[in-house]
Assembly symmetry: C2
Homo-oligomer: 807 residues x 2
């Protein structure tokens, strides 16, 4: 029994057994094995246990890998293993410094999990040879912790998201502890700095715990770090201010640091269980704040590696960041230093004659799924339950005839999500498998029906002026797209379901995270041992066309352009034109696996076109001809095709079709509506790509198509390359013209109004029928009138100076 | 004289005069005028001073605007004005809650600056009518603080960047104080949370000061905020831990809060000047940490607005966020509340008979350029000096013949930047007008020559193991793309020059900021009173093709796709193929104004093709035929065009051309190199778009073009829409195939290798000359051999399972 006092004066009684010297010595030997294999992966392609004298031929032709962070990562891994064996805890390890790949690979290998996932990397000399040789080698394994690494839910290449992923994995996994190593380099990023607020959202009763280990080794690639150079008072203050109760563990004597870190981890574990026990016994009310343990770990960068090379200090400096000895093939001094360094771990005492880890060290690994590298929480598909999705009929908007009823397009989706919450929350124990993540816009985005089922989540005192806020709430609102996206990713990767709903323009804030997640899913598909997980579903709403109240900064459909070039097996972009198609697409996306789905649907009231059955058929087809909207005759080709993708474009296309029908009834107009944007890609380039015949049934082989698109027009042109005569497609869309104005002025400014479309249809049509001139006049007159309305009062305003209706 | 003690116990002696009651009463009246005009802008379209009884016709048909944050913003503005008049300080006001647009407009109007920029908005009833009417009205002015607002360097629509912009504006403006209001909503974002580390980078000797005012009003759109609900200890702790010395000012009694905030601002000013005086007298060495003042301000949301509406509390809650009374046209109760609220400010006592602010209040505005809305620091073009750029010749790589010399493409650029630093730093006073911003990769990106001129900047104790780090350094390395980009934006907007150099993939982290900056520049061009500023220059290096050491997470050229649809007047994307073209492009970009320039140039050693003179001509042309690389004859059209944009694509295209020359010498091959990507757009769509004849001179009118592109292939296809027969362009590029591998494997994985290009050229060529079959065999053999090399050892690795050389 021992007592630890943290920086805020909390005293925790530790019940775990003391850390015996022989235990520590075993741990130090495991650590030596991990460090040895780390260095060996960076340097060796043969002779992996140095059974022969090191030769130049044993050394890889190209030296790649990050040594600096690795010993610290392995030390933490070693001691978490002991904690798991002592306590039976389920732990996941998030390596923020994901470039420390060889360290995590080494530990997964030593635990045996790596060989289970990749049988060629066996627990013998052949397997060891394979392990070291494949690292950072063409056709081998990447240098970073990532999807290929058993036990990982995190690719740490793009720094900033470790804590967000950790928190996401902890939500609704009440018994899980997510140990999250944050490097002091990553700690400088905005997203990581914004992630420390976990205690304001983590519910001790129903969620697991996040144990941050802020690993300060002082340097990033080339320079010092802000926190690495800050004093303990400031570092502890930073964490304390955000709901943590941190302790410092520091030093460069391995035995002492192991002892201190072991005690810190044990105390943290006890504190976590203490917090949870108190929250889980008795009433959850009234709210009292919970402080969570955290560890600040200061150890040398490149610890146990070469201390001084060519008279320059390496250990403890930025020079240890990647490969500390670079000239080992050319410089005999470096070569000898390398051999001395590798042999300093005494590999002959760590592995037996066959190359297998010696039994007393093998015994240090937890059993089976308790191994962090084998945790089902880090291979979320193993925990995934089918989301219970109610039948859609009760949410459907009644559409007796197309284009008459107005309704909010996201509102029924919100009602569906309300009942998804209800159906997937076990009331008995407060468990849940679904959450909505949103930057404080759930109500604004007209998804407020979810508040009939649950509240906004906040671990803080609730005021009478609050609206649907409680510690037990499961709607995750935080004004950070990075946190919304990162939490959801962690939640999905650990086997849950969710939706991220956001203003379209600000989805761009976390665009890089979406890209990295798509990369993860792309490579996960190649790994048979990785199980399918629920798709990342992003609702892009409050779109560019209807952010007329907030103006230009809120008008940006660029995430669509980001998504298009990503892995075709992963990415889908949906443009439901009305409420029932939104429901149908949403259901499809919620059921889907391993995709990134962008659903673009505005929150405002819009005309409704399809009943639920028609909507389902339309969405399943991906695109359809809307016969009721066109003036085609059964025989022959249309004179012009009007196509739309998106709710506002659909409205304008239908209005243009109506203008044409009214003025030039003999013009054969076809109206096509596209929901599944990727259908436009040739089938060789995307699994959803419409087949040639389907494409021609929709768009003909040669007729001109006037296409109104929700996003940037050239996004459609890039998709159409490879289709017959792509030059006949005339796409209009958002052309980066925006301000605070009316919805109609937005379509005029961007020249996608019904009048612009009708004029273009006349210009492009195969025939110019009688009445065309009158219609053109009418369109010009309407645009002039609109222009005049704006000019009347604000003639000298810059917004209209450059504006003309022509085009 | 009075003394203030801050949270860390520092005592500052205040020398400013005491705050007399009559001064406070005047300030409260200015505040009333600002609040009145704020509410009036949201509600009124006529009768702006309520000289007539309010009528429904006076009220706008659509009510837009954000009331909640506005009274706080105006209070701060009012008291900063007093500080400026008391001290003569130059201040800039950054409104993080940029949606509080009407408040800033009101203050700029009251100061007279608004009418100077927009003469129609005069200081009389007609001008007032215009002011209220134009707000959030079609053809009028946007609802947010932004480029149209005099005195603004910040559009607060996308939250997160206020402090970064503020710091950027403070760098190298030693006398400036940037007051930065941070809302508690914005404070939840990652980028803002990562921005508090300013004290680690702000040099008291040469830089101005940032004065953060964290404005906690408890709610964002719909829910509570984390910091709004945190107690003072935690909020102060958060700032203290990051180098600030914050005080709390709180309350809801205007007179008391004005008094307290006045004292806090005065004390902060004195503390700032004290810090600067100490740093600027005597030696700058040895380093001692400087703590900067900060203010935490807690006031009610929607202060002075309706307290209770329909029995529901509004003031102090999220319900005051936007329009606190929404049914004023429909509900007579709301209507009466509105009139009572508006009249509560007694507009008849604030404006004279002509509608002009009464003289005693006009006297509260600072004079001329001291007005924050007129500050030249917030209209940086007024301070902009031409950057002194040395002649390029000394940095040029000697290229006696194309394609023989190897050289790093960014290295000479680094040498140029070194001398740009030297030429634009006034050694006498330590002033400078140029900085490089980079996430800890300056050396990695081979720009390390700059360290011959200056150091990395860090305000912390320097260790002997540091490399070119000092408090006086002017290379801004912080592991945050958000900070690099945000600092540079602030630096440019306040009249300086700079470059942001970053790994290509991670430029995506701050993509949304680049978009917002492009929007700013786009609208700035319409404002005659806004002066041109230096362009935002982004060097994208460590590119997808040569991040083979870091793998898939580091491979992503998506920022190019982001840039393409932005305003054509603003955005340019450059692909210099070698070192001398990189120099030439860099010089052009450094001289340019009001653009966003992306320069894509890898840092590794590459073949060199053009001497400096040829490079300049090639870059000026935007694209050229490289006759020396082709096998065209003078007469007739080529059989095939090989085109490249980017350094690695250029290499592969040249190698393919060589293969063709060697094997099928009679095939007429043209080789075209594209530097200026936007040249591919039709001239109607971009000012750089190549004219029709130029385009045909390069690419012919009908010959097939095999195009190797640095980024995603369809990005080129979207640009080519509108060009003759775009279907004949066959683009290869990065197709999201990546891992840790060799550079050559990267081009094979993405099917852009010389062999793939040669095969495609044979397939697409107008003629199939003798030797074609042999060449095809050779290409297949080489690809098979490469495939075999990888398969040899790693046959069962997932990375190669799906890989074939065909295509």
């Amino acid at each position: 029994m021992q007592q630890t006092t943290t920086s805020t004066g909390t005293t925790t009684t530790t019940t775990a057994s003391a850390y015996e010297e022989h235990e520590r010595d075993l741990d130090l030997r495991w650590w030596a094995a991990a460090n040895y294999l780390t260095a060996a992966q960076i340097y060796l392609q043969d002779n992996p246990l140095l059974r022969e004298p090191l030769s130049v031929e044993d050394i890889k032709p190209r030296l790649l890998g990050h040594w600096g962070t690795s010993p610290g990562l392995s030390m933490i891994y070693t001691l978490l293993n002991r904690l798991i064996r002592d306590t039976g805890a389920d732990c996941v390890y998030v390596a923020g410094p994901g470039h420390g790949g060889p360290a995590l690979l080494a530990n997964a290998y030593l635990e045996g999990t790596y060989g289970e996932a990749y049988p060629a990397v066996s627990a013998d000399v052949a397997g060891l040879t394979r392990l070291v040789r494949q690292f950072s080698t063409p056709g081998g394994v990447p240098s970073h912790v990532g999807v290929q690494t058993p036990g990982s839910i995190h690719e740490g290449g793009e720094l900033g998201y470790s804590l967000a992923h950790a928190a996401g994995a902890a939500f609704d996994h009440p018994d899980l502890i997510v140990a999250c190593v944050v490097g002091d380099g990553e700690a400088e990023t905005g997203p990581l700095a914004g992630s420390w607020k976990i205690p304001a959202f983590l519910n001790a009763r129903r969620d697991g715990a996040v144990l941050p280990i802020l690993h300060l080794n002082g340097y990033k690639i080339a320079g010092p770090t802000v926190l690495g150079r800050a004093d303990d008072t400031d570092v502890l203050g930073l964490l304390t201010a955000q709901g943590w109760d941190p302790v410092v563990v520091a030093g460069d004597d391995p035995a002492a640091v192991f002892t201190d870190l072991h005690h810190a981890l044990t105390a943290a574990h006890d504190r976590i269980r203490d917090n949870q026990r108190r929250a889980r016994t008795g009433s959850a009310e009234p709210f009292r704040p919970v402080r969570w343990p955290a560890i600040v770990l200061r150890t040398p960068k490149g610890w146990t590696g070469p201390k001084v090379v060519d008279g320059v200090v390496v250990e403890g400096t930025f020079r240890a960041h990647q490969v500390p000895l670079t000239l080992v093939r050319e410089d005999v001094g470096h070569f000898r230093l390398l051999e001395r360094w590798l042999r300093s771990y005494a590999p002959e005492t760590l592995f037996d004659a066959t190359g297998r880890l010696v039994p007393e060290l093998r015994a240090l690994a937890p059993a089976g799924d308790k191994r962090m590298s084998a945790s089902p929480y880090a291979n979320g598909g193993r925990l995934l339950h089918r989301l219970d999705i109610p039948a859609l009929a009760p949410y459907a908007v009644s559409v007796p005839t197309p284009g008459v009823v107005h309704h909010g397009n996201t509102r029924p989706f919100g009602e569906l999500l309300r009942d998804v919450y209800r159906a997937n929350t076990r009331e008995s124990d407060g468990g849940g498998t679904f959450r909505l993540f949103c930057p404080d816009e759930t109500a604004s985005n007209r998804l407020g029906a979810v508040f009939e089922a649950t509240d906004r989540c906040l671990q803080a005192p609730i005021l009478t002026t609050d609206d649907h806020v409680s510690p037990e709430g499961r709607v995750m609102e935080v004004l950070s797209e990075h946190l919304c996206q990162g939490w959801l990713e962690g939640y999905l990767l650990s086997g849950r379901h969710g939706v991220f709903a956001t203003y379209e323009a600000f989805a761009m804030v976390s665009a890089s995270m979406l890209i990295q997640h798509a990369k993860w899913l792309q490579h996960a598909a190649d790994l048979p041992w990785r199980r399918s997980i629920a798709s990342l579903n992003v609702l892009l709403t409050s779109t560019c066309w209807r952010n007329d109240n907030n103006g230009f900064s809120h008008q940006g459909p660029g995430l669509i352009d980001i998504a298009i070039p990503l892995a075709p097996a992963v990415v889908r972009v949906w443009f439901p034109p009305d409420a029932n198609t939104t429901l149908s697409v949403a259901e499809h996306c919620l059921r889907s696996r391993d995709h990134v789905n962008l659903i673009v649907a505005d929150k405002q009231e819009h005309l409704q076109y399809l009943d639920l059955e028609e909507a389902a058929a339309h969405c399943a087809a991906g695109a359809s001809t809307w016969d009721w909207a066109g003036t085609e005759t059964a025989d022959g080709e249309p004179d012009i095709v009007l196509a739309a993708a998106g709710d506002v474009p659909t409205l304008e296309v239908l209005a243009a079709a109506r203008l044409l029908r009214d003025h030039v009834p003999y013009l054969r107009v076809r109206v096509v509506n596209v929901v599944d944007l990727m259908g436009l890609l040739p089938p060789a380039d995307h699994p959803h790509g419409f087949g040639e015949r389907k494409f021609e049934r929709l768009f003909t082989a040669a007729t001109d198509v006037v296409f109104a698109f929700h996003g940037y027009p050239r996004a459609v042109h890039q998709l159409l390359h490879g289709r017959p005569e792509p030059g006949r497609f005339h796409v209009r869309g958002y052309t980066e013209q925006g301000t605070t104005t009316t919805p109609f002025d937005m379509v005029v400014l961007n020249r996608m109004s019904r009048y612009h479309l009708a004029l273009e249809a006349l210009r492009r049509s195969a025939r110019v029928p009688e009445g065309g001139a009158t219609l053109a006049e009418h369109c010009h007159a309407m645009l002039t009138r609109h222009h005049g309305y704006i000019r009347e009062h604000f003639e000298d305003m810059p917004e209209i100076r450059g504006w003309t209706w022509a085009g």
